[in-house]
Subunit: 312 residues, 2 copies
Amino acid sequence: MKIGLDIMGGDYAPKAIVLGAIAAHQSLNAGEHLVLIGDTEQIKPILIEEGFNPDHFEYVHTDEVIGMGEHPTKAIVQKPKSSISVGFNLLKEGKIDSFASAGNSGAMLVGAVFSVKTIPGIIRPCLCTILPKIKGGTGLLLDVGANADCKPDILLQFGALGSLYAENLLQIDNPKVALMNIGEEDEKGNMLSMATFPLMKDTNLFNFVGNVEGRDLFNDKADVIVCDGFTGNVMLKLAESFYVMTVKKGMKDEFFDRFNYEQYGGSPVLGVNAPVVIGHGISSPLAVKNMVLQSREMITTGLVDKIKTAFK
Amino acid sequence: MKIGLDIMGGDYAPKAIVLGAIAAHQSLNAGEHLVLIGDTEQIKPILIEEGFNPDHFEYVHTDEVIGMGEHPTKAIVQKPKSSISVGFNLLKEGKIDSFASAGNSGAMLVGAVFSVKTIPGIIRPCLCTILPKIKGGTGLLLDVGANADCKPDILLQFGALGSLYAENLLQIDNPKVALMNIGEEDEKGNMLSMATFPLMKDTNLFNFVGNVEGRDLFNDKADVIVCDGFTGNVMLKLAESFYVMTVKKGMKDEFFDRFNYEQYGGSPVLGVNAPVVIGHGISSPLAVKNMVLQSREMITTGLVDKIKTAFK
């Protein structure tokens, strides 16, 4: 198994990423290899400084970088030698089994769809975020920004994708899937949620439990919460800002601690033909380590094949 | 001046409402009268218990109530003798100058539009919420649920309505108005926000400062944040759930304390021909008191006339 990691992506790259790779290495089993993609000239000094044997990793040298602020589609096209472009080429050619980066999220999404392509039957791939639950454990919110505008059949598929991820990666049996809405009653909502509700109610793709509201993000009403990428992105950033406030204010609490994105690795891209994980721009070594382990789990659980089978 | 208050609406009605009316009375000036609308048989014992002179208030007896769970339109039509229906009739006839209730929000919205009607030139009235800002002071988020689906010209008008409220009621000079979006860059967004951005950029109705994101709800980037009612409702409920968590966890903090909805009264309905305030279902006496004082400010500042002039 080869886990691809972009060393150049993220606000603290390459150092935080290399340190994360070193930390992840201790948790990998025999036969599980990390492939570092990026400027090897920049990687080596960090490994030496850490006294880490460079032979533990494999390397693919790249000498271009897609910046955090660059236009995703343009950058992917214009920088074929960038770590993100090279990473996706390796993924497409099967030379790595998963690809993770804390770099330009848009470029990661575009790269995933351009290179490994959308799984047949899936209308739009999506981006998930993993949420801590007040009573313990985790849940999923999707989409959180890959698709700002959605249609009912797209949201229905997100429910199926989220349910498969929750079952296989979060070890939740028969995950409860809900639709984010502005009221609990069946007939509530905007045009999108009102049109989506009956599709979800009738589906046998997942265990639909009805509508939830903004206040239900962290409680146990649902394991998987589905919404369009605009709503999900706004919610995610609002929730993060609260976490940041509690940290700034020095509030210590077990639940708020679990908000720390570092614990969950990154955001999986679901619906493409290979495991892809997008890390937070500010990813720390711990976040990178968890992103690597999350990539491994996506490979070992065979999530992509399970999604393919479900959408056959 | 006559400030109308529905005594029967809210989870703790009529007691919490009557206690709130008593508390508000101390802050009212000569000539400012509270008109209590509801079952006088239920009001009187509370006043006696509190040793409060009943002559301080005016009364309009009603013997029907619209329940919190009732269908708004049906209830307004089928219960013309309910406190909400009677309140709106008084408002329409000019017998009260404002109307506030912590009862069925949907019925309050429907009642406002049916009775005092939408101000000419305004496409859709909306519901605002007042937000605490981290650095002090307050801001506005609108719409928070009156219009689940919006169009760009509707959002543009929300910007103008919010700006007028912020200027007149929150005493903010030349309020900064922003569009809730999934990125700060001009071209970001879903179809709605992308189509709204250029309208706001070109408007002279208010001081547009660009896009903001979910994380900017409580900072100083904007005084007035505009979004569709679906997004606003989801954000508001998510933010409330955080506040409730900090309270449950016994976290004490000046900023989180200011989250307490009780301090702000209720949610003003903007765009109708008279001041209307909708209180939180769980309104306490303090919340009711502030809802009364907020109603008074909406009257004394002549907000409705200022909105009428702006949309002439």
